[in-house]
Amino acid sequence: MYTQAMDTAPKDATPAVRSADEAALQTRFDARIDAGEFIEAKDWMPAHYRKTLIRQISQHAHSEIVGMLPEGNWITRAPTLKRKAILLAKVQDEGGHGLYLYAAAETLGVSRDELLEALHSGQAKYSSIFNYPTLTWADVGTIGWLVDGAAIMNQVPICRCSYAPYARAMIRICREESFHQRQGFDALLTMMQQGTDAQRAMVQDAVNRWWWPCLMMFGPPDDQSPNSAQGMRWGIKRISNDELRQKFVDATVEQARVLGVSLPDPALQWNAARGHWDFGAIDWSEFWQVVGGEGPCNRERLSARVNAWQAGAWVREAAMAHAQKHTIQQEAA
């Protein structure tokens, strides 16, 4: 989902004229990338590399934080104490993932406040998937299974990102993320195998609604993803949008069969020649509409974030005032 950052970015004008010094640094940087070396925060890097990373990492961080909202919606209504404890732990993880990523973005010289301001003003994006509503309990399970499943598919290659602080954050995130997918599948399996007909229908309905938006998480088709090549060159992106999407479909078909649900695509068919599952055309107009701010929940999500930030302002200020008071007392003593 985080590869969406490259495809939803405004076009940058790259300065044509550079100094000889900078050209030498650039050559050295390219050689390090080619050798598979990691770039650390204080190392020289091209301005465009830095900017692209800030955009991608912060969009990823925003996605984690906004992603807490659709699921947080169900914490008080989880069906059992066990499911509630699991969901609390998962939503807390998402908050933690956001923090790892904000910290990684800040190593590039941007402040946390600037990043949040970009989110709150609507200038920065987050993954399109979180602008869909969670209507039933089955949506929570489906998010775990499909949304987190798609996220893992996307995130595992970023563990080898050339920018080391991002790669380190991703390793930690991926380690924690697989519990998210498994708990979702487990919740759905329980309803499919031990539930009522109505519960099974609820699961199928959730899968029907989430399937296509999940396929969109991987971003536009490769031939409409002009920034991908640069991302690949820099080792920020390792696997193309279409390749990841295909991997996700191939992995999910068997899981759906075990679960006992159908995937809402009449064109879904095994292609022995390709060794992959063929699937139907994606409605990209819906994707661009959601990215453009016109999804079902865009306004609700953003206003929830802005309200939380504003309502928490006095806590942040009080904590700082408290810390400053103690510093002054210690200095006086």
Partner: protein
Amino acid sequence: MNQPAQEWPLWEVFVRARAGLDHKHCGSLHASDAKMAIQMARDVYTRRQEGCSVWVVRADHITASDPQNKETYFDPAEDKVYRHPSFYRLPDAVDHM
């Protein structure tokens, strides 16, 4: 009184995975003071028993070597292979020394 927004300072977090191991850098976070930084480090970095002890250090209190000087600073050790035991080839009878 309307004060300008002020960001909480940045802290670097070090976690000891278990007794007997070093504290290892694992990330950073913002907190208003040391006590809050410790609490938040617990919540952010040890949700799955990844540690038994946490250090936090204000990021602006850390002095680091300059990456521009990496070669001049660290490469002189490169040709001093005699600092490693493997440099010395001893007779077989005593080579487990």
